[in-house]
């Protein structure tokens, strides 16, 4: 038998670039307070993003990956998840992580070079089970599959969610993870943040398939492409995928199409490889303005509220920055203290040497 898959994937969208409704909204979207909340969080993380870059530029923080343009993906995904689901992030996922309980101050600590950025609670106060930020590309996908396998084994109605960039979908780890999730019908959701660029490599020369969602075909799971600048679409698609997983029907792959409006990280200069016209054009589709215009159309948002919220965001971000800057460094010997459950003798003696060295360095003798 010859089987030819047309793999036609249509993109789910509710709001167009101007915030006009293009198809009847899902019922949950009648809850305008929920949408206002989405909006507020998107503005908050955008304000944060700008500040984080400024901190890096002024030498108060290390290399930082901006999420400018991906706010609808992160806030949409994070808002849809249940508190006891488990999230397995990659480095550009600050917005989702914030919805999951990792504060802005945690994110600053992480990029400011402290392991404590990965120690945080869930919004309900319990210690989070979410994974730390994953820097090696795509390895997180296999962890999500493993977490989902544990849920399934124990009969828990929880879902593992992970996300990845468009470039990351070229890696075996990603394909291996979705393949396994399909074969084992795992309660897992894979979200591709397709921001069109993997550092300098454009989406088109990363993969020959017309959409990344159709990589799901080979894994035997549903693949959905969603307008990643439309938070209503992201939230809706995500909610359905989570319900599907929770009810035992297995995994979903979601390709959220957005655009990286910033440099790859603060160490990158995208003007070297990316045409300005393309970026200008992408700004016309960005997610924050789109939802703002919709809320304006609904009469539930206006300039006064906007200004008040922006000033609130500035204050919250400033408070997080102050908290970060006021957080004393961990003592150097912490590098030993969390290394193993207990310290073997050789490590204990290296720990002593380190303390001596630190004292020597504090004395200003080191060269």
């Amino acid at each position: 038998m010859t089987f030819t898959s047309k793999s036609a994937v249509t993109q789910v969208q509710y709001l167009d670039d101007e915030g006009n409704v293009v198809q009847p909204l899902p019922a949950w979207a009648d809850d305008l307070d929920l949408l206002i909340n989405f909006y507020k969080n998107m503005v908050l993380v955008r304000t944060y993003d700008k500040k984080a870059i400024a901190l890096q530029r002024t030498g108060q923080m290390g290399t930082y990956p901006s999420h400018l343009g991906a706010e609808a993906v992160g806030i949409g995904v994070g808002s849809a998840m249940a508190v006891d689901d488990v999230y397995v992030p990659y480095y550009r996922d600050m917005p989702t992580m914030m919805m999951r309980g990792a504060s802005m101050a945690h994110n600053l600590l992480y990029w400011g070079g402290s392991e404590r950025g990965s120690y945080f609670n869930r919004p309900d106060g319990a210690l989070s089970e979410d994974f730390p930020i994953c820097v090696p590309i795509a390895t997180q996908c296999t962890h999500a599959a493993g977490i989902a396998a544990a849920f399934k084994l124990r009969g828990e109605r929880r879902v593992a969610v992970t996300s990845i960039g468009d470039g990351g979908t070229s890696k075996g780890d990603f394909l291996e993870a979705i393949n396994c999730a399909g074969a084992w019908q795992l309660p897992c959701v894979f979200v591709i943040n397709n921001n069109q660029w993997a550092i300098s490599v454009p989406r088109a020369i990363q993969c020959g398939a017309p959409t990344l969602a159709q990589k799901a075909v080979g894994a035997g799971i549903p693949g959905v492409q969603v307008d990643g600048n439309d938070i209503i679409a992201v939230f809706d698609v995500m909610k359905k995928a989570l319900e599907r997983a929770r009810s035992g029907k297995g995994a979903t792959l979601i390709e959220a199409v957005s655009y990286r409006l910033s440099d790859h990280t603060t160490a990158d200069d995208a003007t070297r490889y990316r045409p300005a016209e393309e970026v200008n054009d992408a700004w016309k589709r960005e997610p924050v303005k789109r939802l703002r215009q919709y809320l304006h159309h609904q009469g539930v948002w206006n300039e006064d509220k906007e200004l008040a919220w922006q000033s609130e965001c500035n204050q919250q971000v400033q408070a997080a920055v102050e908290q970060y800057l006021a957080t004393a460094k961990e003592p150097p010997e912490a590098m030993f203290d969390y290394h193993f459950e207990s310290l073997s003798e050789p490590l204990a003696s290296q720990r002593e040497q380190l303390i001596e060295k630190a004292m020597r360095m504090a004395g200003g003798e080191h060269g």
């Binding site: 392991e115 890696k171 490599v201 460094k329 590098m335 290394h339 290296q350 060269g367």
Partner: protein, 327 residues
């Protein structure tokens, strides 16, 4: 003669060899239009075109395997991994395939390929960007492992690596990528791939190091000289095959040895050197061999990385300890 940084010397060697041999191709993530995340491949795509300077999909396992296929066809691929910490996805290809192909086929298939990667810590990088795991590769039979510590050696050793018919792991110490400029002639002269370089003659103790910490080692030798201790400094340069003769000859002269490496202390290259030295000249040693190395813990994020880093002071103190313990 141009004064260039280590990074520019790498770029110079790539330009030279791509022009000299049309079989040389470069590939990796972001190496084309962007010239690599550190700019080591800048200008190559403009000069040699995208057929010879290839941006690959984001997949290191692929890069590992692709280069093996290419090299089997007589191309001389020079692949860049963005950071040493991101070679791990390609380890299966490197260890199970690249390192063994020649031996498995009794020489029928040889793999003239180079895997380049920046390595080492202390540039305030995020996690997984500071690895120093040369020992991992040196442990694998069939791989050559090379680490330059200056612009001139980067140029000469990279040429040699590309011309070598064996797989070469070429690790570039990124902490000193841009710190020093030296005069390097773009004369196509390769350096030997199995020789350590004596950077400073001395009679009291031999200091062996490689990569970025050669700098602290040389500074330590200066400070020790002020105190009347005359240190000989060796840049290992090629980790494997190990030029133990140069080290042993030096230790026979000085009677003492201190090994300085950034990588975690246990099970590393330092341990290997110490063992071989005591095998060959145990009775000429006047003191136990010392090591200044990283701790056996995960490299901390950068807030505390300076405590993990080897400072000149650490070398000076260890050397004094060795001197005191001398028979």
């Amino acid at each position: 003669m141009a004064k260039v940084t280590l990074l520019e010397a790498v770029n110079m060697a790539l330009h030279h060899e791509m022009a000299a041999d049309e079989n040389v191709v470069c590939l990796g993530e972001d190496i084309g239009t962007n010239g690599g995340v550190f700019r080591a491949t800048v200008g190559l795509k403009d000069k040699f075109g995208f057929r010879r300077v290839m941006d690959t999909p984001l997949a290191e396992g692929l890069i590992g395997g692709l280069t093996i296929g290419m090299a089997s066809q007589g191309l001389r691929p020079v692949a860049e991994f963005q950071f040493q910490g991101f070679i791990f996805p390609a380890m299966e290809q490197i260890i199970c395939q690249a390192a063994r192909m020649r031996s498995r086929t009794r020489g029928r298939i040889t793999l003239p390929l180079v895997y380049r990667a920046p390595f080492g810590g202390f540039i305030h990088a995020p996690e997984h960007h500071s690895e120093s795991v040369e020992a991992l590769f040196a442990h694998i039979p069939g791989l050559r492992v090379v680490i330059p510590s200056s612009p001139a050696r980067a140029y000469g050793l990279l040429l040699a690596a590309i011309r070598s018919n064996d797989p070469v792991m070429f690790f570039e110490p990124k902490r000193i990528y841009r710190t020093n400029r030296h005069e390097v002639a773009d004369d196509g002269q390769a350096l030997p791939l199995d020789v350590a370089f004596i950077l400073r003659e001395g009679s009291d103790i031999t200091l062996v190091s490689w990569g970025a910490s050669v700098n602290e080692t040389l500074l330590a030798a200066d400070r020790l000289a002020d105190e009347g201790i005359n240190a000989e400094v060796i840049d290992l340069a090629t980790i494997k095959p190990l030029d133990i003769d140069t080290i042993v000859n030096s230790v026979r002269k000085t009677g003492r040895l201190c090994i300085v490496h950034e990588a975690a202390k246990s099970f590393g290259v330092g341990a290997e050197i110490a063992t071989q030295v005591q095998e060959q000249c145990f009775y000429e040693l006047k003191a136990p061999i010392g090591r200044v190395a990283g701790y056996d813990v995960t490299m901390p994020y950068y807030q505390n990385e300076q405590y993990y880093q080897i400072h000149t002071d650490d070398v000076v103190l260890e050397v004094k300890k060795i001197m005191e313990r001398s028979a």
